[in-house]
Symmetry: C2
């Protein structure tokens, strides 16, 4: 956590931006949660804890966090964005159920390998979060 704040501060400084209590609160909220969460989740969590931060500020801070590389923005096909932190979160991909919207995290060596090979051929550069699989989960198939 302290580490996260340090990293963020460094990023902010490099851009001549300031570490405000609102930004710190949003950062903490994201790093406290394990999974992916949406802007509204953060807003609610903060409200519950009687911390301040308007919806606009939450969105603005999320943009900064994504830009800093500490957080990734994920589109899980739910019609709005989700965010998850990268630090201390082991690499994984998402399997998304088209019916119930459930998101299953997975990581598969085989797939990684063939994906990397294909990307080498096509000169496509993968990102840390690079893959999404759509289908129907056990309960919805």
């Amino acid at each position: 956590m302290t580490r996260a704040i340090q990293t963020f501060t460094k990023y902010l400084n490099s851009k001549d931006l300031k570490l405000t209590k609102e930004r710190k609160a949003v950062l903490q909220e994201i790093f406290l949660h394990k999974g992916h969460l949406e802007a509204e989740d953060i807003l609610h969590s903060l409200r519950r804890k009687k911390k301040r931060a308007s919806r606009a500020t939450v969105y603005r801070t999320l943009d900064l966090l994504v830009d800093s590389g500490m957080v990734r923005k994920v589109d899980l096909g739910h019609g709005h964005s989700h965010y998850e932190h990268v630090l201390g979160h082991t690499h994984h991909e998402h399997m998304i159920c088209l019916k119930c919207g459930k998101v299953i995290e997975f990581s598969d060596k085989e797939i990684e390998r063939s994906l990397k090979q294909m990307c080498k051929k096509t000169e496509f550069k993968l990102t840390s979060h690079h893959l999404q699989v759509f289908g129907y989960c056990r309960d919805c198939r």
Copy 2:
């Protein structure tokens, strides 16, 4: 094309829905195009051809086509949906450039294989369009 109309008519009948000229026009527009296109594209194409169909009808028809399984709705991370027809369109997946938004279609036996195997393990049922890869294309890497 005639085949597509037949299939759609069959679907509509099964749901006690009617084949209107607007629905037929939208269907044709999608099946005339090779790649993925968005609602607005369809609307413009129709306008250019002096065919009628309001934005609302285009969206409503697209929903029907997706439900019928003839068309798939794809989220390419552009902030709005894209649609592409399934019939007579060889199976492929999408690689999406996070910077310029370019979409590269690909199909890779190796990946398919390991993906299928993993899905068997996790009891996840794949759809025809099941995979999306994010990264940076040759020009943006």
